[in-house]
């Protein structure tokens, strides 16, 4: 009887061990280390390479980022960011996080809005206001810091902090921000779902997510014109203005690879956000997605 039990035990162990290996193989078969790929524009690269490539790209463009934005959007990025911050409707005494916002475009607009509020509303006492700018790229943050020094004033409604951080793994405690904004940054993230999950984590209850990103133009004729402009003109302008064809080629391609409005809204819902909606701006060239942590 003892021998029989031993036999059963060995069989069980063997079967478990075997099935684990089989299951393991089945899991990994679609995603072995060599096969984990990501899109760097139209280039298929290894997942762990994309982060480095994006980092290097932004290191190169950091000094000419404004020119790049103007070239990519024919100057319209200013209007889009205005719309985003208008939609955000910043309030005094809140904590704001702007991710991938190294150069400060969105953060400074938030600061300006808060300063304007300060002039008309009495300041809320005993509430901490703050704007945090995070970016994976130190050079971009440097640009932001330089600009902040130029415009910093004693009576500012909130201090601005700079933190080098990866959107997929934010160095902030849970529930520390009232709003999380990201403008033209999320398409550069290797694992968008991770960034959205992190956004959900660091937001306080009732916190808001706002994502501004290049999106898809539905109307066929306009899309053809837009594509023709993007693919033909933008990299050439990148060469002319910034002596850098390839970075602009990547940027144009990464726009095409990014999920459409509805699909992206689905990803935001999957990350736990409620009341997810989006607005297409400029015929869908850009979309502003919004979600709430409820």
């Amino acid at each position: 009887k003892l021998q029989f039990l031993y036999f059963i035990g060995i069989m069980r162990t063997a079967r478990t061990a075997l099935s684990k290996r089989v299951v393991g193989r089945r899991w990994e078969s679609g995603k072995s280390e060599e096969e984990k790929k990501a899109w760097f524009g139209y280039q298929s690269v290894k997942e762990d390479e994309k982060e480095g490539m994006v980092k290097k790209l932004f290191e190169q463009v950091s000094g000419k980022y404004d020119i790049m934005n103007d070239v990519m959007s024919a100057g319209m990025h200013r209007c889009w960011k205005d719309t985003m911050v208008g939609r955000l409707d910043p309030q005094l005494g809140k904590q704001y996080l702007d991710v991938a916002g190294g150069t400060g475009d969105v953060a400074f607009r938030i600061l300006d809005a808060l300063n304007e509020k300060l002039m008309t509303e009495p300041p809320l006492s005993a509430t901490e206001a703050g704007i945090t700018i995070s970016d994976i790229n130190g050079k971009m943050l440097e640009q932001g810091e330089i600009r902040y020094l130029d415009r910093k004033k004693a009576g500012d409604a909130a201090p601005v902090n700079f933190k080098e951080a990866n959107a997929e793994e934010l160095p902030f405690p849970d529930a520390s921000f009232d709003a999380y904004t990201i403008a033209f940054g999320i398409r550069n993230v290797t694992h968008i779902e991770k960034a959205l999950a992190e956004a959900h984590r660091v937001l306080k209850p009732n916190g808001r997510l706002l994502v501004l990103e290049f999106s898809h133009v539905e109307q066929e004729t306009l899309r053809m014109l837009y594509d023709a402009y993007s693919m033909n003109v933008i990299p050439a302008l990148g060469q002319l203005f910034a002596n850098d064809w390839h970075s602009y080629q990547y940027l144009v391609e990464s726009i095409r690879k990014f999920p459409r409005q509805e699909e992206f809204a689905g990803m935001i819902r999957e990350a736990g956000f409620k009341g997810v909606s989006y607005d297409s701006l400029t015929f869908g060239v850009v979309a502003l997605h919004s979600g709430w942590k409820l």
């Binding site: 033909n232 003109v233 990299p235 050439a236 002319l240 002596n243 064809w245 390839h246």
Partner: protein
């Protein structure tokens, strides 16, 4: 087609041509790369003719076959050891005093033929050699004279444009120099040996004056 090649459509080449021409004229000091872009988008026919001219001599055929290149800084450092008065030492001093590095030369990107891309690359490498030979410096007037010389040799439209267009940055004295001394010299010197057919890498220790006589490319009159 070759490392660094960027295929471009006609429309894109048009945009690059227009933009590079304007940009290079407005800021030749910081946007020298645009001069290169302009050369690439407009120079294919001329390069083809230059390549054919090179094929007519044994020296030229050798260059096209061996495809020597000079784009590493390590060789430049060695030239410091060359004797005074040689091509190598004068070239070294020219590059050092201007802070130029062979590795910083803009790469050829927009030419859609591998052999012509090499000819363009070689032409670009020899530009600094030509500076050394002719003793022309990097001022706008001197560069215009050098471009005029290169236009006579290569027929590239960019060289022609550059040898004329830079005039917007010159004063009357310099314009006088250009018309009375610079251009005539360039036409004469342009008849000399093709700069792209010379195996420069074998001439480091050659006495510079001897080299000038052999190639029939004399020192240019210097701008005011």
């Amino acid at each position: 087609m070759y490392p660094g090649h960027i295929p471009t459509s006609c429309a894109q080449k048009g945009i690059l041509t227009a933009g590079a021409a304007v940009g290079a004229l407005l800021d030749p000091w910081r946007r020298g790369d645009l001069v290169g872009v302009l050369g690439e988008t407009t120079g294919v026919d001329a390069l083809s003719g230059l390549r054919d001219k090179m094929k007519e001599t044994q020296a030229g055929r050798r260059i096209l076959h061996e495809r020597p290149t000079f784009d590493t800084d390590s060789v430049l450092k060695k030239l410091k050891e060359c004797k005074e008065g040689t091509f190598g030492s004068t070239y070294y001093r020219y590059m050092e005093s201007n802070g130029f590095k062979p590795s910083e030369r803009p790469p050829v990107q927009f030419i859609d033929d591998s052999e012509l891309a090499y000819v363009m690359r070689r032409y670009r490498e020899t530009h600094d050699f030509a500076h050394t030979l002719t003793a022309l410096n990097s001022s706008v007037a001197a560069e215009m004279v050098l471009k005029s010389f290169e236009w006579h040799q290569t027929g590239m439209p960019m060289c022609g444009l550059a040898s004329l267009g830079g005039a917007i940055h010159l004063n009357t004295n310099q314009l006088h120099y250009l018309v009375n001394k610079g251009y005539p010299w360039a036409r004469q010197a342009g008849q000399g040996e093709l700069i792209t057919s010379v195996m420069w890498e074998e001439e480091w220790d050659t006495n510079l004056d001897e080299l000038r006589q052999r190639l029939l490319i004399p020192v240019a009159p210097l701008p005011p």
